[in-house]
């Protein structure tokens, strides 16, 4: 169908048309996304290049005071009346030099020591070394590879931050020189501080949250991404051992290099996607139906019904999921089993093998997830259902459409249209749904023939990641690789959101 016909389509056809187009455009959007990341980095370097050019040009043009502030930060400020600001710049420079000399440079050196040769991270390993002078073995505490990577990353960030501040101070210094030439007076320190509550209010607002984000999210995350390129696992545990750089070997392993591992990965990935699909759509349609029932004209006690459903969201998940998991447990005998398993056996003679049989466990998990998930999507759907123009329903009723027809022709297309982005976000959320899987089944039951590295039959990538970071199956490098792959999957699906949400904002002729 070409674009001209678009306005003649019914809402359903429009939805499918849009979906088709989104899928068709998807590869280019994906390429665009990763290109955008690349472009961002490229722009950073171009900006840096321009900065360097300005840097030398400014040095040639500037007078002695400006030239001096190339070496001593803040000199230009101090010489032109901004003493306090100049002192702050000077302090930053001194602190940075001290940081680099006593801390940053040694760690950075060790970080790059084996980086290009696939050598060890760090130089000396903790071990007993022979001391010739004393004639004994001496224990020498060596390098801690993990610390080296962590501090190496931190130092690289510090250098970038410092460079940004340094270039800014020089730029300001040159501006001050220009201002002095024109006879203008520089802003007083008090006034500049005052600006922080006004035009520059974002600086006090953002500084603390961003500091927290930087120290406890960005640096650790980048560190863990780097770990994917090393052989850090339980056999190279720090600080007793050094681990080494291995390039892309871990990625090659998981994509076929190590057949047991790649088989496990594909199984876990497959179940993760199946789970996310069923969890998302069962909750979505269930929630929509419940919302329709509650909001039906003539139904009383709407608030009571809704509140009872909301209770399942309100009870903390570790309470609600763990009690249900115990209600479903299949023990050695029926007396040792959960109450639901017992009742199912007594009533239907059906033996639920929760935690024993993978398929039983998987189906049970999806059903239990509906229990806690439907109320949530019911709340979201209720709000949107109210927004469907009432005259649509009225004219449909006049045309003789029954409730089923109204649902299919009006409600469903409208809902799909408005909640498209929500569906995809929920899908991503379900890929990362740790609680439901871990608290219900713990990832089990296992199957040693099909799964390795601690993964089990109902493990999602995220619960596998958890097991690989903690406990007996610790394997940090594999955990990092999986984390990166989860990121790629999430990013891929998020792209659909941005495609769709721009479609929604531009779409105003849906009536």
């Amino acid at each position: 169908m070409d674009k001209n016909n678009y306005f003649l389509m019914n809402p359903f056809q429009k939805f499918f048309y849009k979906t088709k187009r989104a899928i068709k455009n998807f590869p280019s959007a994906l390429a665009g996304f990763f290109m955008a990341i690349g472009k961002g980095i490229a722009r950073l370097f171009i900006g840096l290049g321009k900065g360097i050019k300005d840097y030398f040009a400014g040095f040639a043009k500037g007078n002695a005071l400006t030239k001096g502030s190339y070496a001593i930060m803040g000199l230009g400020h101090m010489g032109r009346g901004q003493v306090a600001k100049g002192l702050i710049y000077l302090l930053v420079e001194i602190l940075f030099v001290l940081y680099m000399v006593f801390f940053g440079a040694p760690y950075l050196g060790k970080f790059f020591y084996g980086f290009f040769t696939k050598g060890t991270v760090g130089i000396t390993e903790t071990a007993d070394y022979w001391n010739d002078d004393l004639g004994i073995y001496e224990k020498i505490v060596g390098d801690n590879s993990f610390k080296i990577i962590l501090y190496g990353i931190l130092t690289i960030f510090m250098i970038f931050f410092f460079l940004a501040i340094y270039l800014r101070s020089i730029k300001e210094s040159r501006e001050l020189e220009e201002m002095a030439k024109d006879g203008r007076k520089a802003l007083s320190f008090r006034k500049e501080v005052g600006e922080l509550l006004n035009e520059k209010f974002h600086i006090p607002l953002l500084s603390l949250p961003m500091l927290g984000l930087f120290v406890f999210t960005v640096v650790p995350l980048v560190t863990m991404i780097i770990i994917a390129f090393t052989n850090y696992d339980a056999s190279t545990e720090v600080p007793q051992h050094l681990f080494r750089w291995v390039g892309f070997a871990n990625f090659r392993d998981i994509f076929g290099g190590n057949s047991a591992l790649s088989g496990t990965f594909l199984r876990v990935l497959g179940w993760t996607l199946i789970w996310a699909f069923f969890a998302t759509f069962s909750n979505y349609f269930g929630g929509m139906i419940v919302a329709l029932l509650i909001n039906k004209k003539g139904i009383k006690f709407k608030k009571l019904f809704r509140t009872i459903f909301v209770m399942t969201i309100a009870v903390p998940q570790f309470v609600s999921l763990m009690i249900v998991s115990k209600m479903l447990t299949a023990g050695d005998s029926m007396e040792m089993s959960g109450i639901i398993t017992q009742i199912l056996y007594k009533l239907f003679g059906f033996q639920l093998k929760f935690g024993i049989n993978i398929t039983h466990t998987r189906i049970a998990i999806i059903l239990v997830n509906m229990w806690i998930g439907i109320p949530y999507s019911m709340l979201i759907c209720s709000g949107i259902l109210m927004n469907i123009p009432a005259d649509l329903y009225e004219s449909a009723r006049i045309d003789g459409a029954g409730p089923v027809k109204t649902f299919i022709k009006i409600t469903l297309p409208y809902m799909l249209f408005v909640t498209g982005p929500y569906l995809i976000t929920t899908f991503i959320g379900n890929i990362n749904n740790f609680n439901v899987i871990f608290l219900l089944s713990g990832g089990g039951p296992g199957d040693l023939l099909k799964y390795t590295s601690g993964a089990k039959g109902t493990d999602l990538l995220i619960t596998w990641l958890y097991k690989l970071s903690l406990g007996v199956d610790r394997n940090y490098k594999l955990a990092s690789v999986i984390g990166i792959l989860v990121f790629i999957i999430s990013a891929t699906f998020s792209l659909l959101v941005y495609n769709k949400s721009s479609a929604v904002t531009k779409e105003d002729q849906f009536q």
Binding site: F146, L197, N198, F201, H202, L206, L208, M210, G212, L213, F216, P220, L221, T223, M224, I227, V290, I294, K296, I299, F305, T307, I308, F309, V310, T312, I313, P316, Q317, F318, V319, I323, K326, M327, E335, W371, Y376, L379, I380, G383, I384, I398, P403, T419, G420, P421, Y422, I428, N432, F434, I462, L465, Y466, S469, L470, G483, F487, A491, V497, S501
Partner: protein, 309 residues
């Protein structure tokens, strides 16, 4: 060409329209309405019963006198208060409760401040790094939050050498990444009319004054939503606390979720199942009450976030 059938349809349609306009409902329609409403009630009541069953079971089991993890009846055969008594006399449950409350209050205060500050800055102030920062945060949010924990654990060990497995660490973990969840509140701030800001600006107010005196008071729903979700998060979290507290011998440091999780492990469940139920009831009641009391704001928050995507 108009066929007989078409004509019949048109007449039917006209009648329906008239009835609709005059509000006349025919007898057969009344009956149909009543039947469909009755069916709706039945379905809703059944669904509500299913929704409540596990919770009723939980509360029932907390009063069970028979020992052991498994029972053959839905409700206990003999009722007792002993499980609750045991909770306060023999277990560190009260400590855990206090720990969780403490962590929840502090991290809720920090998280709320951070989220509101970041959302306001991104919503109202146009500065050079705004777009790049938002994009970087978007990308950061796509990584599984748990991925960085190994390094965070290591970092905490360096920063708090003697107390890295402590409540302070938990507070840091819960609140340091708060900035990443700015988008719901930002979406709300975007809808607060800008003309109010401009009017105040002309009257000589600074940005800081506008934030405190105009935007925040107008944003009560989103403030309450942020407080509610960030206060409840530590009560519900299992993954981070189990990582931070892994291998801690002193169970007094635990929060409710971790301590109660351990009660249901294979070795302990026979002894502690009914105690778990009692504890779970005591955790669930205040959280549920709080949630239901403030559900209006919760709904506003999640729907706002969902529709904007």
């Amino acid at each position: 060409m108009i066929t007989y059938n078409d004509e019949k349809k048109t007449i039917k349609r006209r009648d329906r329209f008239r009835n609709y306009q005059t509000g006349v409902i025919s007898g057969s329609m009344k009956v149909r309405n009543r039947i469909s409403n009755g069916a709706t009630y039945i379905v809703l009541i059944i669904l509500n019963i299913i929704a409540l069953t596990p919770l009723v079971y939980l509360v029932g089991q907390s009063f069970r006198a028979e020992a052991g993890a498994w029972s053959s009846t839905f409700f206990p055969k003999t009722w007792t208060m002993a499980n609750y008594k045991r909770l306060f006399t023999e277990t560190p449950f009260l400590r855990w409760y206090g720990n969780t409350f403490f962590v929840a209050v502090i991290s809720c205060a920090i998280t709320t401040t951070f989220v509101l500050a970041v959302s306001y800055a991104f919503s109202r102030i146009r500065f050079k790094l705004r777009r790049p920062m938002m994009n970087v945060m978007l990308v950061l949010g796509m990584f599984p939050g748990f991925m960085s924990m190994t390094a965070v654990y290591f970092l905490l060990k360096i920063l708090l050498p003697n107390h890295f497995q402590s409540l302070l660490s938990l507070i840091i973990v819960y609140s340091s990444g708060a900035a990443l969840s700015y988008y719901v509140a930002k979406g709300f701030f975007d809808t607060v009319p800008k003309s109010l800001d401009e009017a105040a600006f002309i009257d000589g107010a600074t940005r800081a004054q506008i934030f405190w005196k105009i935007t925040i008071p107008l944003s009560k729903p989103i403030v309450i939503y942020t407080i509610l979700t960030s206060f409840i998060a530590p009560w519900c979290d299992f993954i981070f606390v189990s990582f931070i507290m892994s291998g801690v011998p002193d169970v007094g440091m635990y929060t409710v979720s971790l301590g109660m999780y351990k009660w249901l492990e294979r070795e302990q469940i026979q002894q502690y199942f009914t105690t778990f139920c009692a504890a779970a009831t005591l955790v669930a009641i205040p959280i549920t009450a709080l949630f239901i009391w403030l559900q209006k704001y919760y709904v506003e928050g999640i729907t706002g976030g969902a529709v904007k995507g």
